[in-house]
């Protein structure tokens, strides 16, 4: 799999998740003090979008029930679910944030 550009870096603000599309699926991308991230825009608890979820301590909180997901691993924190969300590799390349599937 190859990296594909998905968003201009100039549109990214630290600890804010930006909605974009990769391979026809909605994803959230952004940057924290731990680096760039790209995750699927779907909570593994009840399937709602994570759009608008606030980012603290390298985790995004689902805006519906507050399930938190580690942006580096996709792992869920808390009692509501232990199912991770899908994550992608993310990197900066010149002016663009690029995303790539993680090969199995």
């Amino acid at each position: 799999m190859d990296f594909q550009p998905v968003l201009k870096l100039s549109e990214i603000i630290e600890n804010k998740a930006c909605l974009t599309v990769f391979e026809g699926r909605e994803i959230l991308v952004g940057v924290t003090n731990k680096g760039y991230f790209a995750i699927e825009n779907k909570c593994s608890h009840q399937g709602k979008p994570l759009t608008g979820g606030r980012i603290r301590h390298g985790h995004i909180s689902c805006p519906v029930h507050g399930v938190r997901f580690n942006l580096e691993t996709g792992a869920a924190v808390g009692k509501l679910t232990n199912k991770p969300i899908k994550i992608y590799r993310a990197r900066a390349n010149e002016d663009w944030l690029e995303v790539c599937e993680i090969s199995a």
């Binding site: 606030r54 909180s61 805006p63 507050g66 399930v67 808390g78 509501l80």
Partner: protein
């Protein structure tokens, strides 16, 4: 002998209230009936800390606090104040919000999707027309609790008829702790440990320094726990304060000066002379206070400007009834807090926080847990069982007595406590507990 009457040299002595001498027996530590009654009579009627206010900076940011079987949500509102609710859906009782923190434009119950605005009202739900008793919107809501922000912390009381937190704590505690400006600090350690004892075994432990020489021998070379350079004061409502001078050996210390005292002194350019007399040793603490005044600001210790002389060197412990133990020292503030278990009198949850001021240019701070220096940034919460991981050397030592005392209190061989004068804060605490249990407390 040095006189210590100056207000700057130690906390002002407080008039000691009369104690009744109530017997303290094991029932309160072991009985399930007592535990259930305590939930109603104490935990649902007293003030507790939900978390640091800075953890919830924006509208909709919330913290979830658990005390016994109760879970409380405190949420930041648009005007900057906090609302608080019992974390219970009025539909069929599910928890609405998950802790320890998060944010919500609306709280949404994970079970049937009832939605609550930040004022706690039901504002939307599936099939609202399906309720014979009427549409829950505008009719039902989350049960409110009382919330106040003080010392940079969010406090709550489940009793909606409680008085103000400031009246509950009293002017001495409010003024003295406010002087440390905890609201400008950052919590660099945030741990919770499941512990095999009743919560009061740990508050009792923090209510006396008699155990220090036995359980914490490493403190004796540089912290006083006895004699002229310590002081305990009882306060109304079961609170108390203990003052323990540092930067000098305890009266219990024998032999030459040993670490960490020389290093602590050297950091401020104070050296230990050869064969010092006890008077000379007492003066070292005053020398450090002078040096901190002189050099503190240029070294980035801006918070020293707030502090009285004794606060520049000494430790003061404020035991706030029932369980909020706040220890303040010159370089930071600890919360040492046992919380009751949801159902079992023989277990509790022990919280250990370490808050430090932001000192110019410093990115790391020594860890009270004995590990590597901690980054000066808000710490992620760590949750584990006692023994799985260190809570810090001193806290580990304190918790090491938990299970063994809990077990002993379950024996027919134990009658009642036999307390020394230096354990009088326990007596004050337990008599207030007795008041609450008889519902005599205000």
């Amino acid at each position: 002998m040095t006189t210590l009457d100056n207000d700057n040299d130690r906390p002002q002595r407080l008039q000691r209230p009369e104690l009744r001498g109530d017997p303290i027996t094991a029932t309160r530590y072991t009985s399930r009936d007592y535990f259930a009654s305590e939930l109603d009579n104490v935990w649902r009627r007293t003030w507790n800390i939900a978390g640091m206010a800075y953890q919830a900076p924006e509208e909709g940011d919330y913290l979830v606090a658990e005390v016994g079987p109760e879970s409380v949500i405190v949420v930041r509102r648009a005007d900057g104040s906090f609302n608080g609710y019992l974390n219970v859906c009025p539909h069929r009782g599910a928890r609405v919000a998950e802790g320890p923190y998060g944010f919500a434009d609306r709280f949404v119950c994970p079970y049937h999707g009832w939605q609550f605005d930040l004022d706690g009202r039901v504002v939307d739900l599936p099939d609202p027309q399906d309720f014979k008793r009427g549409n829950p919107c505008s009719k039902l809501g989350l049960e409110a609790v009382v919330v106040t922000e003080l010392f940079g912390m969010v406090w709550f009381n489940i009793d909606r008829d409680c008085g103000s937190l400031e009246d509950y704590l009293g002017a001495t505690i409010v003024e003295e702790i406010s002087g440390y400006h905890i609201e400008e600090m950052v919590r660099v350690l945030d741990m919770t440990a499941e512990t095999e004892c009743n919560w009061k075994i740990l508050t009792d432990n923090f209510n006396e320094a008699y155990h220090l020489q036995v359980v914490h021998p490493q403190l004796v070379p540089f912290i006083e726990s006895q004699g002229d350079f310590s002081q305990i004061d009882l306060m109304p409502n079961g609170h108390n304060r203990g003052w323990f001078a540092s930067y000098q050996p305890s009266a219990l210390h024998e032999g030459p000066v040993v670490e960490p005292l020389p290093s602590l002194l050297a950091e401020w350019g104070v050296a230990v002379p050869e064969n010092p007399s006890s008077e000379v040793l007492r003066q070292l603490r005053k020398d450090v206070q002078d040096k901190k005044r002189e050099l503190g600001a240029e070294r980035g210790f801006d918070h020293y400007a707030y502090l009285k002389n004794y606060q520049l060197t000494d430790y003061v412990i404020y035991n706030i009834f029932p369980n909020s133990v706040i220890t303040v020292g010159p370089e930071g503030v600890q919360l040492l807090r046992p919380r009751p278990h949801a159902t079992d009198p023989a277990q509790c949850l022990f919280d250990h926080w370490w808050l430090v001021p932001k000192i110019g240019g410093r990115t790391h701070t020594p860890s009270p847990s004995g590990g590597p220096d901690l980054p000066v940034e808000d710490a992620e919460h760590e949750y584990f069982a006692y023994g799985e991981q260190s809570l810090g050397e001193t806290a580990d030592q304190d918790l090491s007595i938990g299970a063994l005392q809990q077990q002993g209190l379950g024996s027919v061989g134990f009658k009642q406590f036999y307390l020394s004068e230096q354990e009088i804060r326990l007596q004050n605490f337990h008599e207030r507990l007795d008041d609450y249990m008889r519902r005599d407390a205000n």
